[in-house]
């Protein structure tokens, strides 16, 4: 029982990390149909800049703020300089541009901040908690709470504010939104900024668990992308569900089946789910129109 609970917590912790990465993917995708493969670099910048600033003597809070501001600026620059100029290109070309951007950002980060691994102190003073015979990292709970809080805040923002409604309108019908006086370039730029913010925040929250280095973004982006697609690219809660599912599958795979083949297990189940629900777990039903 305690073993099962321990494995459950492991899965939830990892899943919450994937979810944090995945949220950024879905936000940009739903407003622009672009999959931004540089999302992982936002996560990296959040963690790396904070850790570098802390190592340089800054207090954690200013360090985190600096990291968030710098990452958001990066997100806006990425949109303004690289994605917006290619807005009429096909999605695959935009994806390659974001991959180029992620190589570029990673390259600069390795020069500017070195290739060593870094960590950040956990948010809470007690590092672990005993729950029902299993031990869980408090930071894991922070990450879970953080991803739920981010999704809720995002949901409220999209529903309750004028800007948020503008994003939703652009997502639903770009042309109609444009006719209603919404500038889609501003809106998509905004979603890049917000997804950079979420990425940076995520990077800061997960670093005490995952540790960080200049190249942490690549594999996180791959897992986050899978989580986003699994959950449904357009549903706000999709990434959380998708992330948690992949995390749990990996933990169950590692704990009960084979730790070498846990990713194989997770991917096979993931593909099975996609067969049954091609629109993703929470995605809306899509009927092809001809």
């Amino acid at each position: 029982m305690a073993t099962a609970l321990q494995i459950l917590f492991s899965g939830l912790t990892v899943g919450a990390i994937y979810a944090l990465v995945a949220i950024g993917f879905t936000l940009v995708y739903s407003s622009s149909e672009v999959v931004n493969f540089a999302q992982g670099e936002f996560v990296m910048l959040g963690g790396m800049i904070s850790a570098t600033a802390v190592a340089a003597g800054l207090a954690p809070l200013p360090a985190a703020s600096l990291a968030i501001v710098a990452t958001v600026v990066t997100g806006i620059l990425l949109y303004g300089l690289a994605v917006a100029p290619a807005r009429d290109a096909s999605p695959i070309v935009v994806i390659i541009i974001t991959i180029g951007a992620s190589i570029f950002i990673r390259g600069l980060a390795s020069v500017g901040m070195g290739k060593e691994f870094h960590t950040l102190p956990p948010l809470l003073a007690t590092p672990t908690l005993d729950l029902g015979g299993a031990s869980v990292q408090t930071q894991g709970l922070v990450v879970m709470a953080g991803s739920v809080a981010i999704v809720l805040t995002l949901w409220l923002f999209l529903r309750m504010t004028k800007l948020g409604r503008g994003i939703r309108a652009t997502a639903a019908n770009r042309l109609a939104a444009q006719l209603a006086g919404i500038n889609p370039r501003v809106i998509v730029g905004l979603t890049f900024a917000i997804s950079a913010l979420i990425g940076a925040l995520g990077g800061i929250l997960i670093t005490p668990i995952t540790l960080t280095s200049f190249d942490v973004g690549t594999l996180l982006a791959v897992k986050g992308f899978a989580a986003a697609v699994l959950g449904g690219l357009t549903h706000p809660a999709g990434p959380v569900l998708g992330g948690l599912m992949i995390g749990l599958l990996e933990a169950v795979g590692a704990g009960y089946i084979s730790s070498q083949y846990k990713d194989v297990f997770a991917f096979v189940v993931l593909l099975g789910v996609l067969f049954l629900r091609p629109q993703g777990i929470l995605g809306g039903r899509a009927v092809e129109r001809v």
Partner: protein
């Protein structure tokens, strides 16, 4: 079609810009300074650069300056081979020191063997020098030696049932494979071999599974990078309740910082480099170790580690052989490398022979334990 042909030619010509001035000794190096093995490759690169400059500042080798040409293979063995070809054909180096991962070294060896250029590998795999190859030498400890050191310690402590948890990189897999092959000789039974992915952030599921094994006495973690720190923290988190061993891949200051208090009591086989100050003054290695530590800390502001030490030993072995040969001629340098005798390096005291291109024995490793956040010698 003309512009395209011109373009192809222009692009193909581009790498030809770097040509050698003949008054220098060109030493090539291919390292994994990006990709999964960058944790090893980066300190190797820093060490090579710092020491090349020091050697030149001190007058060079046989009156000539040395010039390093370092390429990053991105941890991809096919790239290593391309760069090895480039070093031989294009840059026309006289010797090569490098090869971060075992796979990278193995992929390059045929190039150097065919060209007749001495190659000092920095990788851990025993396959590199066993069987002995004419042009290939290797100062680093082999993984098998690390296994032997850990198993000896386990046996002494009566902890004969052990389990492995390892990453999926070359270092980790090679270590586990070699340990498995010698475990029987030390009377150690390996009850489980668990694994985790390259960027996994939580290994409690695997550790929980291991912890539940009946009769298990110790857990060994073989990996480099962030993996050992996370495993150490997770082991403390779930209260593993038995000794945790790391490999020499974790023998860095970075590991201590990342793992924090969770590392207390963790043991690992490490080079004397990490405990140089604790060595008695009579120890022949002490001066070399302290010198290396001081030089690197001054030049890079970063603490020394096992892998940077390998690069130090590799480069200086080559230079030593060149000095004894009185020339940089590849064949003469190779012969002198093979005659290296009692050379004091960070990994140990190296004595090569036609049948041994490794040149160190088990005494090169010390069993270290983390005590109050620092390395302490326990044997």
């Amino acid at each position: 079609m003309k512009p395209i042909r011109a373009l192809v030619c222009a692009v193909l010509m581009a790498p030809g810009l770097a040509t050698a001035a003949r008054s220098e000794i060109l030493i090539g190096s291919v390292l994994s300074t990006t990709g999964p093995a960058s944790f090893l490759g980066e300190p190797e690169k820093q060490t090579l650069e710092v020491y090349a400059k020091r050697i030149n500042d001190a007058g060079g080798v046989n009156g000539e300056k040395i010039r390093l040409i370092i390429y990053d293979d991105g941890s991809d063995a096919s790239n290593s081979r391309t760069f090895a070809t480039r070093l031989v054909e294009q840059d026309q180096v006289v010797a090569v020191v490098g090869g971060t991962g075992t796979g990278n070294s193995l992929a390059m060896i045929p190039v150097f063997e065919e060209a007749g250029i001495p190659f000092v590998s920095l990788s851990g795999g025993v396959d590199i020098i066993d069987p002995v190859r004419k042009w290939v030498f290797k100062p680093p400890h082999t993984d098998r030696m690390a296994c032997a050191k850990i198993f000896t310690d386990l046996k002494q402590r009566g902890l004969t049932n052990a389990a492995f948890i390892a990453g999926q990189g070359g270092y980790a897999k090679s270590m586990v494979t070699q340990c498995r092959s010698v475990a029987g000789q030390y009377g150690i039974k390996i009850l489980a071999e668990e694994s985790y992915g390259p960027r996994d952030s939580d290994m409690t599921a695997q550790l929980t599974r291991i912890k539940a094994l009946p009769g298990l006495k110790a857990v060994i973690n073989a990996d480099i990078g962030q993996g050992p720190a996370i495993v150490t923290r997770n082991a403390a988190q779930i209260n593993l309740g038995m000794p945790l061993y790391q490999s020499h891949g974790a023998a860095t200051q970075g590991y201590l910082e990342l793992a924090g208090p969770a590392a207390e009591g963790v043991r690992l086989p490490g080079p004397s480099l990490l405990v140089a100050e604790q060595l008695p003054d009579s120890d022949p290695q002490k001066k070399v170790l302290l010198d290396y530590t001081a030089v690197i800390e001054k030049a890079t502001g970063k603490p020394v580690g096992t892998f940077g030490g390998y690069a130090h030993d590799g480069l200086l072995l080559l230079v030593d052989a060149m000095k004894r040969a009185g020339s940089a001629d590849p064949a003469k340098v190779r012969d002198q490398l093979e005659k290296t005798k009692g050379y004091v390096a960070t990994v140990g005291i190296i004595t090569m022979s036609p049948t041994d291109h490794l040149g160190i024995d088990l005494s090169a490793f010390r069993m270290l334990e983390v005590k109050r956040g620092k390395w302490a010698v326990v044997d």
